[in-house]
Protein backbone atom coordinates (compact mmCIF):
# COMPACT_ATOMS: atom_id res chain seq x y z
CA UNK A 1 0.00 0.00 0.00
CA UNK A 2 2.79 2.35 0.99
CA UNK A 3 4.53 1.55 -2.31
CA UNK A 4 1.37 2.40 -4.31
CA UNK A 5 1.16 5.83 -2.63
CA UNK A 6 4.84 6.34 -3.33
CA UNK A 7 4.30 5.64 -7.05
CA UNK A 8 1.23 7.90 -7.23
CA UNK A 9 3.12 10.68 -5.48
CA UNK A 10 6.08 10.33 -7.80
CA UNK A 11 3.79 10.28 -10.87
CA UNK A 12 2.01 13.43 -9.72
CA UNK A 13 5.34 15.15 -9.08
CA UNK A 14 6.56 14.25 -12.59
CA UNK A 15 3.31 15.61 -14.12
CA UNK A 16 3.46 18.85 -12.10
CA UNK A 17 7.13 19.46 -12.93
CA UNK A 18 6.52 18.64 -16.63
CA UNK A 19 3.52 21.04 -16.81
CA UNK A 20 5.51 23.79 -15.08
CA UNK A 21 8.45 23.23 -17.43
CA UNK A 22 6.27 22.98 -20.56
CA UNK A 23 4.17 26.07 -19.82
CA UNK A 24 7.11 28.02 -18.41
CA UNK A 25 9.18 27.40 -21.53
CA UNK A 26 6.17 28.45 -23.66
CA UNK A 27 5.77 31.75 -21.81
CA UNK A 28 9.54 32.30 -22.10
CA UNK A 29 9.44 31.53 -25.84
CA UNK A 30 6.57 33.98 -26.43
CA UNK A 31 8.39 36.60 -24.32
CA UNK A 32 11.66 36.05 -26.20
CA UNK A 33 9.69 36.29 -29.46
CA UNK A 34 8.27 39.60 -28.22
CA UNK A 35 11.63 40.96 -27.13
CA UNK A 36 13.92 39.17 -29.54
CA UNK A 37 15.47 40.74 -32.61
CA UNK A 38 14.07 38.23 -35.11
CA UNK A 39 10.85 38.75 -37.05
CA UNK A 40 10.68 42.19 -35.46
CA UNK A 41 11.53 45.62 -36.77
CA UNK A 42 12.65 48.39 -34.47
CA UNK A 43 12.41 52.08 -35.24
CA UNK A 44 13.37 54.30 -32.28
CA UNK A 45 11.06 53.43 -29.37
CA UNK A 46 8.63 51.69 -31.74
CA UNK A 47 8.61 48.06 -32.81
CA UNK A 48 6.45 46.10 -35.22
CA UNK A 49 6.15 42.46 -36.22
CA UNK A 50 6.59 41.55 -39.87
CA UNK A 51 4.12 38.68 -39.67
CA UNK A 52 1.48 40.10 -37.30
CA UNK A 53 -1.90 38.71 -38.29
CA UNK A 54 -0.38 37.01 -41.34
CA UNK A 55 -0.97 33.42 -42.40
CA UNK A 56 2.83 33.24 -42.69
CA UNK A 57 3.20 33.86 -38.95
CA UNK A 58 5.00 31.20 -36.95
CA UNK A 59 3.28 29.47 -34.03
CA UNK A 60 4.87 31.73 -31.39
CA UNK A 61 3.93 34.94 -33.25
CA UNK A 62 0.42 33.52 -33.71
CA UNK A 63 0.12 32.81 -29.97
CA UNK A 64 1.48 36.25 -29.08
CA UNK A 65 -0.89 38.04 -31.48
CA UNK A 66 -3.81 35.96 -30.13
CA UNK A 67 -2.96 37.07 -26.60
CA UNK A 68 -2.04 40.72 -27.14
CA UNK A 69 -3.38 41.79 -30.55
CA UNK A 70 -6.41 39.63 -31.21
CA UNK A 71 -7.92 39.98 -34.71
CA UNK A 72 -5.02 42.05 -36.05
CA UNK A 73 -4.77 42.62 -39.80
CA UNK A 74 -1.93 41.60 -42.09
CA UNK A 75 0.89 44.23 -42.35
CA UNK A 76 0.01 44.87 -46.00
CA UNK A 77 -3.27 46.31 -44.71
CA UNK A 78 -2.27 47.82 -41.36
CA UNK A 79 1.14 48.24 -39.74
CA UNK A 80 0.92 48.17 -35.94
CA UNK A 81 3.83 49.86 -34.16
CA UNK A 82 3.94 49.33 -30.39
CA UNK A 83 6.04 51.22 -27.82
CA UNK A 84 6.74 49.95 -24.32
CA UNK A 85 9.60 52.41 -23.75
CA UNK A 86 10.24 56.11 -24.35
CA UNK A 87 12.84 57.43 -26.81
CA UNK A 88 15.63 57.06 -24.23
CA UNK A 89 14.71 53.40 -23.61
CA UNK A 90 13.04 53.95 -20.21
CA UNK A 91 9.86 51.88 -19.68
CA UNK A 92 6.66 53.90 -20.10
CA UNK A 93 5.11 54.62 -16.72
CA UNK A 94 1.59 55.84 -15.89
CA UNK A 95 3.02 58.04 -13.11
CA UNK A 96 4.98 60.12 -15.63
CA UNK A 97 4.05 62.81 -18.17
CA UNK A 98 5.06 62.35 -21.81
CA UNK A 99 5.20 64.37 -24.98
CA UNK A 100 4.81 62.55 -28.29
CA UNK A 101 6.25 64.64 -31.12
CA UNK A 102 5.72 63.74 -34.73
CA UNK A 103 4.62 64.77 -38.16
CA UNK A 104 2.15 63.49 -40.73
CA UNK A 105 2.96 59.93 -41.84
CA UNK A 106 3.02 58.40 -45.34
CA UNK A 107 -0.16 56.42 -45.05
CA UNK A 108 -3.83 56.69 -45.85
CA UNK A 109 -4.74 57.12 -42.18
CA UNK A 110 -2.83 56.86 -38.89
CA UNK A 111 -3.59 57.04 -35.18
CA UNK A 112 -1.76 57.10 -31.84
CA UNK A 113 -3.56 55.28 -29.00
CA UNK A 114 -2.65 54.94 -25.33
CA UNK A 115 -3.37 51.78 -23.32
CA UNK A 116 -2.83 50.72 -19.76
CA UNK A 117 -2.34 46.97 -19.38
CA UNK A 118 -3.53 46.55 -23.02
CA UNK A 119 -6.89 48.34 -22.47
CA UNK A 120 -8.21 51.91 -22.73
CA UNK A 121 -7.62 54.22 -19.77
CA UNK A 122 -10.96 55.32 -18.28
CA UNK A 123 -11.30 59.12 -18.29
CA UNK A 124 -14.11 61.69 -18.21
CA UNK A 125 -13.27 62.92 -21.71
CA UNK A 126 -13.46 59.36 -23.13
CA UNK A 127 -10.30 60.27 -25.05
CA UNK A 128 -7.96 57.40 -25.93
CA UNK A 129 -6.32 58.48 -29.20
CA UNK A 130 -5.46 61.12 -31.78
CA UNK A 131 -5.39 60.52 -35.51
CA UNK A 132 -4.52 62.00 -38.88
CA UNK A 133 -8.05 63.38 -39.08
CA UNK A 134 -8.49 64.96 -35.65
CA UNK A 135 -5.08 66.09 -34.42
CA UNK A 136 -4.16 69.77 -34.18
CA UNK A 137 -0.89 70.35 -36.00
CA UNK A 138 1.18 73.39 -37.03
CA UNK A 139 1.46 74.73 -40.59
CA UNK A 140 4.34 72.32 -41.33
CA UNK A 141 2.23 69.36 -40.29
CA UNK A 142 4.12 68.79 -37.02
CA UNK A 143 2.13 67.84 -33.95
CA UNK A 144 2.51 67.15 -30.23
CA UNK A 145 0.35 64.86 -28.10
CA UNK A 146 0.65 65.26 -24.33
CA UNK A 147 0.08 62.31 -21.99
CA UNK A 148 -0.65 63.34 -18.44
CA UNK A 149 -3.05 62.63 -15.61
CA UNK A 150 -3.58 66.42 -15.29
CA UNK A 151 -5.31 68.56 -17.99
CA UNK A 152 -2.97 69.92 -20.69
CA UNK A 153 -3.46 72.42 -23.49
CA UNK A 154 -3.64 71.14 -27.06
CA UNK A 155 -3.73 67.44 -27.95
CA UNK A 156 -4.06 65.76 -24.53
CA UNK A 157 -4.73 62.12 -23.63
CA UNK A 158 -5.55 61.68 -19.91
CA UNK A 159 -3.57 58.94 -18.11
CA UNK A 160 -5.91 58.55 -15.15
CA UNK A 161 -4.66 58.05 -11.62
CA UNK A 162 -4.13 54.29 -11.43
CA UNK A 163 -0.81 52.56 -11.86
CA UNK A 164 -0.20 50.07 -14.64
CA UNK A 165 1.85 49.23 -17.68
CA UNK A 166 1.56 52.05 -20.21
CA UNK A 167 1.66 51.04 -23.88
CA UNK A 168 1.43 53.17 -27.02
CA UNK A 169 0.17 51.94 -30.39
CA UNK A 170 0.77 53.69 -33.70
CA UNK A 171 -1.43 52.33 -36.51
CA UNK A 172 -0.74 52.95 -40.19
CA UNK A 173 -3.73 52.02 -42.37
CA UNK A 174 -2.89 51.27 -46.02
CA UNK A 175 0.69 52.54 -45.65
CA UNK A 176 2.46 53.87 -48.73
CA UNK A 177 4.88 51.35 -50.32
CA UNK A 178 7.78 53.57 -49.16
CA UNK A 179 6.61 53.17 -45.56
CA UNK A 180 6.39 49.36 -45.84
CA UNK A 181 9.87 49.20 -47.37
CA UNK A 182 11.28 51.47 -44.67
CA UNK A 183 9.59 50.17 -41.53
CA UNK A 184 12.85 50.54 -39.61
CA UNK A 185 13.80 53.93 -41.03
CA UNK A 186 10.67 56.02 -41.67
CA UNK A 187 10.28 59.08 -39.49
CA UNK A 188 8.18 58.02 -36.50
CA UNK A 189 7.15 60.14 -33.48
CA UNK A 190 9.51 60.65 -30.54
CA UNK A 191 8.28 59.79 -27.04
CA UNK A 192 9.75 62.21 -24.50
CA UNK A 193 9.40 61.83 -20.73
CA UNK A 194 8.64 65.13 -18.99
CA UNK A 195 8.84 64.23 -15.31
CA UNK A 196 7.09 61.84 -12.94
CA UNK A 197 4.88 61.99 -9.87
Amino acid sequence: MKRVFKYIGKGLLIIIVAFALGLGSLVASIYIQEKGPWRKVRNGPWETGLNTGSIEAGPYTRAKVALFGTLALDPSEVVYYIAFNDSTGQPLDCRCNYRIEGKDLSTRWWSVTVYKDFHFIPNDQKRYSYSKTNISSDKDGRWIVKLSSKPQEGNWIPLGDREGRLILALRLYNPDPSAIEGLDSIDLPDIIREGCR
Partner: protein, 186 residues
Protein backbone atom coordinates in the same frame (compact mmCIF):
# COMPACT_ATOMS: atom_id res chain seq x y z
CA UNK B 1 20.43 6.20 -10.82
CA UNK B 2 18.59 4.48 -13.66
CA UNK B 3 15.27 5.46 -12.06
CA UNK B 4 16.30 9.11 -11.94
CA UNK B 5 17.25 9.10 -15.61
CA UNK B 6 13.88 7.64 -16.54
CA UNK B 7 12.09 10.24 -14.41
CA UNK B 8 13.97 13.11 -16.03
CA UNK B 9 13.30 11.70 -19.49
CA UNK B 10 9.59 11.35 -18.67
CA UNK B 11 9.50 14.95 -17.40
CA UNK B 12 11.22 16.27 -20.53
CA UNK B 13 8.99 14.33 -22.95
CA UNK B 14 5.84 15.39 -21.08
CA UNK B 15 7.06 19.02 -20.92
CA UNK B 16 7.62 19.11 -24.70
CA UNK B 17 4.12 17.65 -25.26
CA UNK B 18 2.54 20.21 -22.88
CA UNK B 19 4.51 23.03 -24.58
CA UNK B 20 3.37 22.03 -28.09
CA UNK B 21 -0.26 21.42 -27.11
CA UNK B 22 -0.47 24.78 -25.31
CA UNK B 23 1.15 26.55 -28.29
CA UNK B 24 -1.43 24.99 -30.63
CA UNK B 25 -4.31 25.64 -28.25
CA UNK B 26 -3.73 29.31 -27.30
CA UNK B 27 -5.04 30.92 -30.56
CA UNK B 28 -7.96 28.46 -30.68
CA UNK B 29 -8.88 29.09 -27.05
CA UNK B 30 -8.75 32.86 -27.60
CA UNK B 31 -10.84 32.51 -30.78
CA UNK B 32 -13.32 30.39 -28.82
CA UNK B 33 -13.52 33.13 -26.18
CA UNK B 34 -14.03 35.79 -28.89
CA UNK B 35 -16.81 33.67 -30.45
CA UNK B 36 -18.42 33.08 -27.06
CA UNK B 37 -18.22 36.80 -26.27
CA UNK B 38 -19.88 37.69 -29.58
CA UNK B 39 -22.59 35.05 -29.40
CA UNK B 40 -23.43 35.27 -25.71
CA UNK B 41 -22.54 38.72 -24.39
CA UNK B 42 -23.23 40.69 -27.57
CA UNK B 43 -26.24 38.55 -28.49
CA UNK B 44 -24.99 37.96 -32.02
CA UNK B 45 -26.42 35.04 -33.98
CA UNK B 46 -24.30 32.39 -35.68
CA UNK B 47 -23.79 33.14 -39.41
CA UNK B 48 -25.24 36.66 -39.07
CA UNK B 49 -23.47 40.01 -39.14
CA UNK B 50 -23.84 41.70 -35.80
CA UNK B 51 -23.43 45.44 -35.27
CA UNK B 52 -21.49 46.65 -32.30
CA UNK B 53 -21.28 49.98 -30.48
CA UNK B 54 -18.10 52.01 -30.52
CA UNK B 55 -15.49 50.92 -27.95
CA UNK B 56 -15.11 52.79 -24.68
CA UNK B 57 -13.06 52.04 -21.57
CA UNK B 58 -14.50 49.22 -19.51
CA UNK B 59 -16.10 47.33 -22.40
CA UNK B 60 -13.00 46.96 -24.60
CA UNK B 61 -12.62 43.23 -24.07
CA UNK B 62 -10.23 42.68 -26.96
CA UNK B 63 -6.72 43.78 -25.99
CA UNK B 64 -5.45 46.91 -27.74
CA UNK B 65 -8.68 47.56 -29.65
CA UNK B 66 -8.84 50.53 -32.01
CA UNK B 67 -11.00 53.26 -30.40
CA UNK B 68 -11.51 55.02 -33.74
CA UNK B 69 -13.09 52.04 -35.44
CA UNK B 70 -16.69 50.90 -35.56
CA UNK B 71 -16.98 47.12 -35.92
CA UNK B 72 -19.53 44.69 -37.25
CA UNK B 73 -18.81 41.09 -36.36
CA UNK B 74 -19.58 37.68 -37.75
CA UNK B 75 -19.20 34.23 -36.21
CA UNK B 76 -19.55 31.65 -38.97
CA UNK B 77 -19.91 27.92 -39.32
CA UNK B 78 -19.69 26.69 -42.91
CA UNK B 79 -19.40 22.99 -42.11
CA UNK B 80 -22.86 22.22 -43.53
CA UNK B 81 -23.43 24.84 -46.20
CA UNK B 82 -21.79 27.93 -47.69
CA UNK B 83 -22.59 31.34 -46.27
CA UNK B 84 -23.55 34.17 -48.62
CA UNK B 85 -22.28 37.55 -47.45
CA UNK B 86 -23.56 40.75 -49.02
CA UNK B 87 -21.21 43.70 -48.41
CA UNK B 88 -21.83 47.40 -49.00
CA UNK B 89 -19.27 50.14 -48.37
CA UNK B 90 -20.89 53.18 -46.74
CA UNK B 91 -20.56 56.66 -48.25
CA UNK B 92 -19.02 58.07 -45.08
CA UNK B 93 -15.96 56.97 -43.09
CA UNK B 94 -12.21 57.14 -43.63
CA UNK B 95 -11.60 53.47 -44.27
CA UNK B 96 -13.66 50.30 -44.59
CA UNK B 97 -12.53 46.67 -44.70
CA UNK B 98 -13.95 43.18 -44.38
CA UNK B 99 -11.61 40.55 -42.93
CA UNK B 100 -11.96 36.87 -42.15
CA UNK B 101 -10.12 34.88 -39.46
CA UNK B 102 -9.69 31.12 -39.25
CA UNK B 103 -10.08 29.09 -36.08
CA UNK B 104 -6.40 29.69 -35.26
CA UNK B 105 -6.94 33.46 -35.75
CA UNK B 106 -4.99 33.62 -39.03
CA UNK B 107 -6.23 36.59 -41.08
CA UNK B 108 -6.72 34.68 -44.33
CA UNK B 109 -8.84 37.22 -46.22
CA UNK B 110 -9.11 40.99 -46.27
CA UNK B 111 -10.82 43.34 -48.67
CA UNK B 112 -10.83 47.11 -48.26
CA UNK B 113 -12.97 49.83 -49.84
CA UNK B 114 -10.24 50.92 -52.28
CA UNK B 115 -9.66 47.38 -53.58
CA UNK B 116 -13.37 46.75 -53.85
CA UNK B 117 -13.82 49.84 -55.98
CA UNK B 118 -10.72 49.28 -58.15
CA UNK B 119 -11.09 45.51 -58.68
CA UNK B 120 -14.85 45.13 -58.75
CA UNK B 121 -15.84 48.66 -59.77
CA UNK B 122 -18.56 48.78 -57.19
CA UNK B 123 -19.41 49.63 -53.61
CA UNK B 124 -21.16 46.30 -53.22
CA UNK B 125 -20.19 42.66 -53.56
CA UNK B 126 -21.37 39.12 -52.82
CA UNK B 127 -19.07 36.63 -51.13
CA UNK B 128 -19.77 32.91 -50.94
CA UNK B 129 -17.84 31.69 -47.90
CA UNK B 130 -17.28 27.95 -48.11
CA UNK B 131 -15.67 25.33 -45.86
CA UNK B 132 -12.33 23.65 -46.59
CA UNK B 133 -13.98 20.46 -47.91
CA UNK B 134 -16.79 22.10 -49.84
CA UNK B 135 -17.46 21.32 -53.53
CA UNK B 136 -19.44 24.51 -54.01
CA UNK B 137 -19.67 25.99 -57.54
CA UNK B 138 -20.23 29.71 -58.06
CA UNK B 139 -23.81 30.60 -58.94
CA UNK B 140 -23.07 33.94 -60.62
CA UNK B 141 -20.10 35.75 -62.12
CA UNK B 142 -20.50 38.60 -59.63
CA UNK B 143 -20.01 36.26 -56.71
CA UNK B 144 -16.55 35.91 -55.13
CA UNK B 145 -15.85 32.53 -53.56
CA UNK B 146 -13.68 32.50 -50.44
CA UNK B 147 -12.52 29.21 -48.93
CA UNK B 148 -12.19 29.22 -45.16
CA UNK B 149 -9.27 27.09 -43.87
CA UNK B 150 -11.50 25.96 -40.98
CA UNK B 151 -15.23 25.21 -40.72
CA UNK B 152 -15.67 27.85 -38.04
CA UNK B 153 -14.16 31.31 -37.74
CA UNK B 154 -14.89 34.98 -37.36
CA UNK B 155 -15.29 38.00 -39.61
CA UNK B 156 -14.93 41.70 -38.97
CA UNK B 157 -16.07 44.81 -40.81
CA UNK B 158 -13.98 47.79 -39.74
CA UNK B 159 -15.04 51.37 -40.35
CA UNK B 160 -12.68 54.16 -39.31
CA UNK B 161 -14.28 57.31 -37.96
CA UNK B 162 -12.53 60.59 -38.79
CA UNK B 163 -13.13 62.12 -35.36
CA UNK B 164 -15.17 60.16 -32.84
CA UNK B 165 -14.64 62.89 -30.24
CA UNK B 166 -16.41 65.71 -32.11
CA UNK B 167 -20.10 66.48 -32.68
CA UNK B 168 -19.52 65.79 -36.39
CA UNK B 169 -17.94 62.46 -35.44
CA UNK B 170 -20.93 61.48 -33.32
CA UNK B 171 -23.17 62.18 -36.32
CA UNK B 172 -20.80 60.12 -38.49
CA UNK B 173 -21.01 57.21 -36.02
CA UNK B 174 -24.81 57.41 -36.26
CA UNK B 175 -24.60 57.29 -40.08
CA UNK B 176 -22.13 54.40 -40.04
CA UNK B 177 -24.28 52.43 -37.61
CA UNK B 178 -27.18 52.77 -40.04
CA UNK B 179 -24.87 51.73 -42.89
CA UNK B 180 -23.82 48.62 -40.92
CA UNK B 181 -27.19 47.11 -41.74
CA UNK B 182 -26.40 47.30 -45.46
CA UNK B 183 -24.03 44.36 -45.03
CA UNK B 184 -25.79 41.09 -44.21
CA UNK B 185 -25.72 37.33 -44.69
CA UNK B 186 -28.16 34.96 -46.40
Amino acid sequence: MKGWKQDILAILILAVVVHLIALWAIPRLIEGMVEKGMLAKERCKLNAICCRDINVAGIDEIPMANPDSLFSRLVYDVSKEPLRIHLTVPDTGMYWSFSLYARNLDNYYVLNDRRLKSEYGSREMEIALVGPKSHYKKTSTNEVMVVSPSDRGTGLIRMIIADRYSAKGIEEIRELKKAQELSYTE
